[in-house]
């Protein structure tokens, strides 16, 4: 389970400022539970965009956007709608946004921030990993996460350690994340993103928000609801 929240509307507006025609992609997986990518939210977003003068060329809600094959399959009937759009608004977690960007040759705008669950999730979700940083930067990096793809988690561009497209830290297994981002942005005609703004990360957002703490590991750790009080007492006696 991955938890996401919608980015503020003015942020989404800024991402779409230069796009007239948009395709919306939602997700019936975790994003449905988070109410960020379910059909109702996608339709409400469509309505809002249309009220603001955008053309929504189409929309689709896939079962699991974290799976590239499923996205490709799901989008087959929507091919012309996606192709006629200037960009795609992806309403799901950071993994789904990256998976969408990997199979769609269009700018894929992130509509959400993925919230940190504090390590409760023990999955390794494919090549598109998400650090749940709570402050998604995929808008500026062509849908490729620099926090998981760059060894140093750099958010302001490539360091001097990139050699033949590989990271000097572990060249056998690691591509240079910023080389991937560069190639993707070049393809999209968005290389200016690499020099526009100096970014300083808000690491505070990597902490799970208090509201989520009651639902996961913290709840087990709380003394008043500890699941094995008898065992603890027995240990104390000995």
């Amino acid at each position: 389970m991955i938890v996401s929240e919608l980015k503020p509307w003015n942020v989404i507006q800024s991402y779409l400022a230069n796009d007239k025609k948009v395709f919306i992609l939602g997700c019936k997986g975790c994003a449905e539970v988070s109410k960020t990518g379910d059909e109702a939210t996608v339709l409400a977003t469509k309505k809002q965009l249309e009220q603001e003068g955008k053309t929504v060329t189409g929309w689709a809600v896939a079962d699991f956007l974290c799976d590239r094959a499923l996205i490709k399959f799901k989008l087959l009937p929507f091919k012309s709608q996606v192709e006629s759009a200037d960009s795609v608004l992806v309403m799901t977690c950071g993994i789904g946004i990256q998976a969408a960007a990997a199979v769609i040759d269009k700018v894929c705008h992130p509509a959400t921030n993925t919230i940190n669950l504090g390590g409760a999730r023990g999955e390794w979700p494919g090549a598109e990993r998400c650090r749940q940083c709570g402050d998604c930067v995929l808008e500026y990096t062509g849908g490729i996460c620099p926090l998981t793809n760059c060894t140093k988690m750099l958010i302001n561009g490539q360091c001097g350690g990139s050699k033949n497209g590989r990271c000097e830290v572990e060249p056998e297994v690691r591509p240079c994340g910023w080389q991937l981002i560069y190639e993707r942005l070049e393809k999209l005609g968005k290389l200016d993103y690499m020099k526009d703004t100096v970014r300083v990360k808000n690491w505070n957002k990597m902490q799970p928000p208090p509201a989520l703490r009651s639902t996961i590991k913290w709840s087990i750790d709380q003394p008043d609801i500890a699941p094995t009080p008898t065992t603890a007492k027995e240990v104390a006696k000995k």
């Binding site: 140093k152 750099l154 958010i155 302001n156 561009g157 490539q158 001097g160 033949n164 020099k195 300083v200």
Partner: protein, 288 residues
């Protein structure tokens, strides 16, 4: 003339670097600095270069200053978060150190403490930005400073990177963030450097070409294999390999490279890495 004034005056500027020791015996460090002093405008002090733990660059830079040598304080983002980095910038200024070279830094994995946690809270670009904020009397959190520092801020770029595009975009970002001069990664290919300068010249910021003295054929091959953005061409390796007097040849090669590139840029930065005694003869051969 200070380093800043020298670069502003338009004259060709020479800098070199010294690396603080692992341990507290500062004699060799100071001897090397004294050897370089009469030939250079300022001396860089490296910050735990190659992620190897050593005496800190701020203290070592202060030592140079106490000996009447103008230091360029190198700072990497590998070992300190934004609180420590900003604090060290203020500490540097308080000690009269204004030249700061802002670097991201090698990954801990490549150094002698590979199990250490790398920090990278900021990077070269955001460190430059932080320094500019301090100059404007604010810290990164937007809080007011009691007395603002002033720096001469530098950055690094790799002219030999393949491809060059991402490096140039980052260089432009560094200029925007506040970089006032560049000292480059080592260059052995003047043609490549010329191509680089044609594209980098438009940023209007002085560039000092980086020269690393060749110690041996093995060292050249090692760099080709392991150091990103550095390529020693086969002709140079063969030339060094065939030479009877390797010391003389390494001096000759470095001097030739500087002579070939000095018309293309605003200065040269020599990284001798233990071969400081060869720097004066190299500069003699370049009339510098």
């Amino acid at each position: 003339m200070t380093f800043r004034e020298a670069l502003k005056s338009g004259k060709f500027v020479v800098t070199a670097e010294v690396g603080p020791p692992k341990g507290v015996d500062m004699k060799e460090f100071l001897d090397n600095a004294e050897l370089l002093r009469p030939r250079v405008t300022a001396i860089n002090v490296t910050d735990q270069q190659s992620a190897v733990m050593r005496v800190g660059s701020l203290t070592a830079a202060r030592l140079l200053k106490d000996h009447g040598i103008e230091p360029i304080f190198q700072m990497t983002c590998r070992d300190r978060n934004r609180i420590a980095l900003q604090s060290d910038l203020l500490s540097a200024y308080v000690q009269g150190i204004e030249n700061v070279l802002c670097l991201t830094g090698d990954h801990t994995f490549l150094g002698d403490h590979p199990t250490a946690m790398p920090v990278f809270d900021l990077d070269s670009v955001s460190l430059l930005y932080a320094a500019k904020q301090l100059e404007a009397g604010k810290d990164l959190a937007g809080k007011d400073l009691k007395g603002a520092p002033h720096f001469y801020l530098g950055a690094c770029v790799t002219p030999g990177a393949e491809p060059l595009g991402p490096q140039l975009l980052k260089m432009e970002k560094k200029v925007k963030a506040g970089a006032q001069f560049f000292q480059t990664q080592a260059v052995y290919e003047p043609k490549k450097f010329e191509t680089f300068m044609k594209r980098a010249g438009k940023f209007g910021v002085p560039v000092m070409v980086g020269i690393v003295l060749l110690r041996s054929v093995a060292m050249a091959r090692f760099m080709n294999k392991n150091v990103a953005g550095v390529h020693v061409p086969d002709e140079l390796i063969n030339e060094l390999d065939k030479a009877e007097n390797k010391v003389q040849k390494s001096i000759e090669i470095a001097a030739r490279l500087i002579n070939q590139m000095k018309g293309m840029c605003q200065g040269v930065h020599i990284m001798a890495i233990g071969l400081e005694a060869r720097v004066p003869p190299v500069l003699d051969a370049c009339n510098l």
